[in-house]
Amino acid sequence: MTRVMVVEDEADSLELLGSWFEDRGYEVLAVSSGVAALEQAERFAPELLLTDYFLPGGVNGIEVARRLLGWFPDLRAVLMTGMLQGTFTRDLADREHIPVMLKPFNFRTLAATLESLP
């Protein structure tokens, strides 16, 4: 069972994403802040990370991905971000080789993005 960590501060999106993964047989840990993600990552040891860029509490999605990639080199990470957050997020994500999924997206896009991961 693949362990996926979903980090998103929008409660409804978080719940919907979590259920979608559960339905597909993933073991899911859903958290709503970057700090919580970092705190719980070690115990959970995610194999897949899906994180929003803007997160409350001062740790953004790229930070989460960077740190987790440091701890779990085999981790596959995907960053979610609003369409108009411009090139900065993309630049940052590109530099870290983290694929970006633009919001709003649907499950088909999510599935396609996950399939395209190495």
């Binding site: 409660a11 999106s13 978080l14 719940e15 802040s33 953004n60 740190r67 957050q85 499950f107």
Partner: protein, 424 residues
């Protein structure tokens, strides 16, 4: 799973300084203000000193510097800085790869964690992370605007974007200076100044674009929930689950329409009809409306009204809206707990003063100046639209009134509103 989310999501203070906050007015205003200052300042170094000081204050950055590149980009020398204890000027040499990226005009982020091998001068001042924003004008990169932070939070995208705007202004100032140094004809330099005025106008338009981007960004999150919810609802065979996701879709669609509503109200600027208005009666009505609107009687309003309050000349519907937005804000800040609000009215010289204080978490000091900015919202998760208080401020300004936000000594926020008394 929901439990985890709620538990982690509820901050002690109930107020979240989300990074997605669009500090639209203040930040887009900064580059514009600096562009104007650059035009009136003949000495480029004293302009930089002034500008760096403003950047530090407005963008809350610990250390800032302007450093110019050598011809081969292999070294950077600091010409002005703010916030550094060691004011002596420094040269930094760059490895080839980094020099190339500076030359190409890339923003370079610096951080102990991501670029452990990369040292930067500001580290000796206690900086942990930072960024070099290129000073690029025309086809040329003159150097970098360095911004560093003493905690390990990377500079937000918002801040980087504001810095990029400012760097452009800096580059133009350097460009102009170099032209003047080269003894370019006065006439040409005047043409350049004219050109800069055009750029200032363009910047005002750009800030409008950012306003639009703010709206779109606000809509992105509820739209994602709607899309995902609709797909889940169509797929599920379980009627309970279907109802649950329909509920989520409805809630998020309502949020979208509230956002659109606010935007429209914000955009509307027509002259309103005004007449002599008794603000006490208006406040009683507002208290009543807001209490009915709050879920499960979670709002308790106490009125302390001055018996002989001077009337004002106003549009009552607009004023009502202005006050209700404040009460809604107070309710939202309490995150579902009971909210107690005291409303006072009094005569003050030729004005009337209304104070609305709540027993919520108050406003973090660093956000006091921003609470009236469009899309400055700390309450996104409770469904705020990010425009309520800016509409309030706008209505009051249109009535020649004022509003200030402050924190009470014993906790809770207080909004102090003043309106001119109607001429007798």
């Amino acid at each position: 799973m929901n439990d985890t989310a709620t538990e982690l999501g509820s901050d002690e203070s109930g107020l979240y300084a989300t990074e997605s906050v669009t500090r639209f007015q203040r930040r887009s205003g900064l580059a514009h203000a600096l562009a104007l200052a650059a035009l009136s300042e003949t000495d480029v170094r004293s302009f930089f000193r002034f500008a760096l000081d403003r950047i530090r204050a407005e963008l809350e950055i610990d250390l800032v510097e302007v450093a110019l590149s050598s011809k081969d980009f292999r070294s950077l020398s600091r010409i002005e800085s703010e916030g550094f204890a060691d004011q002596s000027l420094h040269d930094v040499s760059l490895e080839a790869e980094l020099a190339e990226r500076v030359a190409a005009g890339h923003i370079i982020t610096l951080g102990a964690e991501t670029h452990g091998e990369r040292t930067f001068a500001a580290q000796s001042e206690g900086a942990i992370s930072g960024a070099w924003v290129p000073l690029t004008g025309g086809n040329e990169t003159y150097g970098v605007l360095g911004a560093y932070s003493k905690d390990d939070r990377a500079l937000s995208e918002d801040t980087l974007s504001a810095l990029a705007d400012v760097a452009e202004v800096f580059a133009r100032a350097i460009e102009r200076r170099r032209r003047e140094d080269r003894g370019v004809q006065d006439i040409e330099s005047r043409a350049l100044r004219k050109n800069e005025e055009a750029i200032c106008r363009a910047q005002r338009l750009a800030s409008l674009g950012r306003f639009a981007a703010g709206i779109a960004h606000e809509l992105t999150n509820p739209l994602t929930s709607i899309l995902l919810g609709a797909e889940s609802g169509l797929r599920t065979e379980d009627p309970t689950r279907a109802r649950q996701v329909l509920g989520a879709i409805l809630k998020n669609a309502e949020r979208c329409s509230r956002i659109m509503d606010s935007v429209l109200k914000f955009a509307r600027e027509e002259e309103s009809t005004r007449w002599i208005t008794d603000v006490n009666r208006l406040l009683e009505r507002v208290a009543c409306l807001a209490q009915n609107e709050a879920p499960a009687h979670r709002l308790k309003v106490k009125l302390e009204l001055e018996a002989r309050l001077t009337p004002v000349f106003a549009n009552p519907t607009e004023l009502e809206q202005a006050f209700i937005n404040i009460l809604r804000n107070a309710v939202e800040a309490k995150n579902g707990r009971i909210c107690r609000v005291a409303i006072r009215s009094e005569n003050v010289a030729k004005r009337i003063r209304i104070s609305i204080s709540d027993d919520g978490p108050g406003i973090p000091a660093e956000h006091l100046a921003e609470v009236f900015d469009p899309f400055f919202s700390t309450q996104r998760r409770t469904g705020g639209t990010g425009l309520g208080l800016s509409i309030t401020q706008r209505i009051l300004a249109a009535h020649d009134g004022s509003i200030h936000a402050l924190n009470q000594p014993r906790g809770g926020a207080c909004f102090v509103i003043e309106l001119p008394a109607a001429r007798q």
